[in-house]
């Protein structure tokens, strides 16, 4: 599998809103912690090292 960089999520606006609201009321430190957990959960779900490496590169480059 390769990393999907084309639109892939139907209701991306909806997800974006969910992402913001899950952080609601959290301190900055708590938000960082949540994000870290989220990355770990998603990485495990993706389960493909090659894809994850590409994602890491893309995130770093941006």
């Amino acid at each position: 599998m390769t990393l999907v960089t084309e639109p892939n999520l139907q209701d991306h606006d909806g997800f974006y809103a969910d992402l913001l609201s899950v952080h609601k009321g959290l301190s900055e430190a708590e938000s960082h912690a949540l994000n870290a957990r989220l990355i770990l959960i998603l990485a495990n779900h993706i389960g493909d090292l090659a894809v994850l490496k590409k994602a890491l590169e893309l995130a770093r480059k941006s």
């Binding site: 960082h32 912690a33 870290a36 957990r37 770990l40 959960i41 495990n44």
Partner: protein
């Protein structure tokens, strides 16, 4: 009871009165690695002189966890039975966060192996057994209180200057093995870089003697209640001795932390009472470093002199034993005029293994002692997730225990044969009548099932052999190295093909 250190006798070496003839092999250092190397060479009929500046076994228990692979090697050297009889056998590790268990592992879930996954046995016992075995070998000349002070090389030999209580002398050899430990004076004499990483943390390591009935398991805590915010490790050893490792932080003052009045209250909090005797205490900073190359013409680095790792994962002593395993048969062949390409493969294979050991130890140490900021954030969140999400439990890293490296050799192979006996891997053990398969792999061996090429060893076929070697195929042929690593395998092959592979193996090209 405290270990009774019996000094070994100093005997004035012949070199003090007359020039000694050039030796085949001189080994510097009678730690576990130097002694094991001498015994392994003797097994291949190569004599050696072993010199050590000291005259007692390891002060403090140091290496206590010996892996299945090391035990298989010690078995060839004749001391595994003593080790098993004395040691504490274990295979389960438990990792806690606070008071809650987050992860456990079973290192040997399958039966049908002669050796257990791990035993705990103090390094001083292992060295004592090795010294006794070496002293019984007519091929090993073991010299205590012989300190190497200088080294030089010619095109075909290495020379060392040696100081003894009775004066100095010179030794020359075809090959010199530097088994002189993490601080290797030989490395320094040769001006070699020892590059790597130091972890900015300190650990208290204490052995205590107490009557207790803790299970024979490895137990590791992140942020336990009894040692707030830090990590702790508990191991059971023979003689009612327990090893306790406590993380102290970078700012801890080693001299202060070693004082009994400071150590004892810390330990009381771990074990919940004060009914114990302090046996040995030390404060360590951990490092992962390696030489760029292990073979430098006639000087070969083996064990801690070549590489050091932080101890979580027990990859120091066990990694060194695998160096010995890899080097012994190759050096024996070269000393007899064999192809020096074999020594190149010692260098390249053990470099790969070293990198693997360093990578594993570094990752575990980073997980235990994360830098402030993002490293700590991910570490803490992994621990948090481990309480609710199954996957994260396995991510909790309190040390990945020593396993033999898979050498990536390009060798004849057949995909129909099982993955676990792939070329480059240590041959998996299996029962054979009243004995074990490993006992049959002492030299270059051709093993065949379902066919019988000339000179092949045909083992008893049982369910373990079927699963570990034959798989779905009707027949198989394995070429096994003297270090019990699989060199090549076929479903069927003619004798020419097998002979060609053997030949390539002995030229260091397999």
């Amino acid at each position: 009871m405290a270990y009774d250190y019996q000094p070994f006798e100093f005997t004035p070496p012949p070199g003090l009165t007359a020039n000694e003839p050039r030796h085949k092999v001189v080994i510097v250092g009678a730690g576990p690695i130097g002694l094991a190397a001498a015994l392994e060479l003797a097994r291949h009929d190569v004599p050696s002189v072993v010199v050590d500046d000291n005259n007692v076994v390891s002060i403090g228990s140091r290496a206590i966890c010996w892996s299945k692979r090391s035990l298989e090697i010690f078995d060839r050297l004749g001391i595994a039975e003593r080790m098993l009889a004395k040691g504490v056998t274990w295979k389960v590790g438990r990792t806690y966060h606070g008071a809650e268990e987050v992860f456990n592992f079973d290192l040997l879930p399958e039966d049908g192996h002669k050796m257990p996954a791990f035993i705990n046995l103090q390094q001083y016992y292992v060295e004592q057994y090795l010294v006794e075995a070496a002293q019984q070998s007519p091929l090993i000349d073991l010299r205590f209180k012989n300190k190497v002070t200088d080294l030089s090389q010619t095109a075909d030999s290495a020379q060392v200057e040696i100081e003894t209580p009775d004066g100095a002398y010179t030794l020359a050899a075809d090959y010199l093995l530097a088994c002189d430990g993490a601080g290797s004076p030989i490395r320094k004499m040769m001006g070699l870089e020892f590059d790597g990483e130091l972890f900015e943390d300190r650990f208290l390591i204490a052995d205590i003697e107490m009557e207790a009935d803790f299970p024979s398991e490895r137990r590791f805590w992140f942020e336990p209640e009894f040692h707030e915010g830090q990590s702790a490790l508990l191991h059971r050893q023979p003689d009612n001795i327990y090893r306790i490792d406590l993380q102290l932080g970078w700012d801890a003052d080693p001299d202060h932390e070693k004082k009994p009045e400071v150590v004892i209250p810390r330990i009381e909090r771990v074990v919940g009472h004060s009914d114990f005797r302090l046996d040995w205490v030390s404060v360590y900073t951990f490092q992962c470093r390696r030489l760029e190359r292990f073979v430098h013409d006639r000087v070969i680095f083996v064990g801690d002199s070549a590489h050091v790792v932080s101890p979580f994962g027990a990859r120091g002593g066990n990694g060194g034993m695998q160096d010995v395993d890899n080097l012994g048969w190759k050096l024996a062949a070269v000393v007899r005029g064999g192809d020096t390409g074999l020594l190149e493969t010692y260098d390249s294979e053990r470099q790969i293994a070293t990198d693997e050991n360093i990578a594993n130890s570094t990752r575990a140490t980073k997980f235990m002692t994360p830098d402030d900021g993002i490293e700590r954030l991910f570490r803490d969140q992994t621990l948090t997730l481990a309480k609710t999400a199954g996957f994260a439990r396995g991510w909790v890293n309190s040390g990945r225990l020593s396993r033999p490296c898979a050498y990536p050799n390009v060798a004849p192979d057949d995909g129909r044969l099982p993955e676990i006996s792939h070329p480059g891997l240590v041959a998996p053990d299996a029962p054979q009548g009243d004995g074990w398969l490993m006992d049959h792999f002492r030299d270059v061996t051709v093993m065949a099932i379902g066919c019988a090429p000339e000179g092949a060893f045909v083992p008893e076929l049982n369910e373990h052999m079927q699963r570990r070697y034959l798989g779905e195929a009707d027949s198989c042929i394995y070429l096994v190295r003297p270090d019990q690593v699989i060199a090549a395998r076929w479903v069927s092959a003619d004798s020419q093909t097998i002979a060609a592979a053997k030949d390539a193996l002995m030229r260091g090209q397999l």
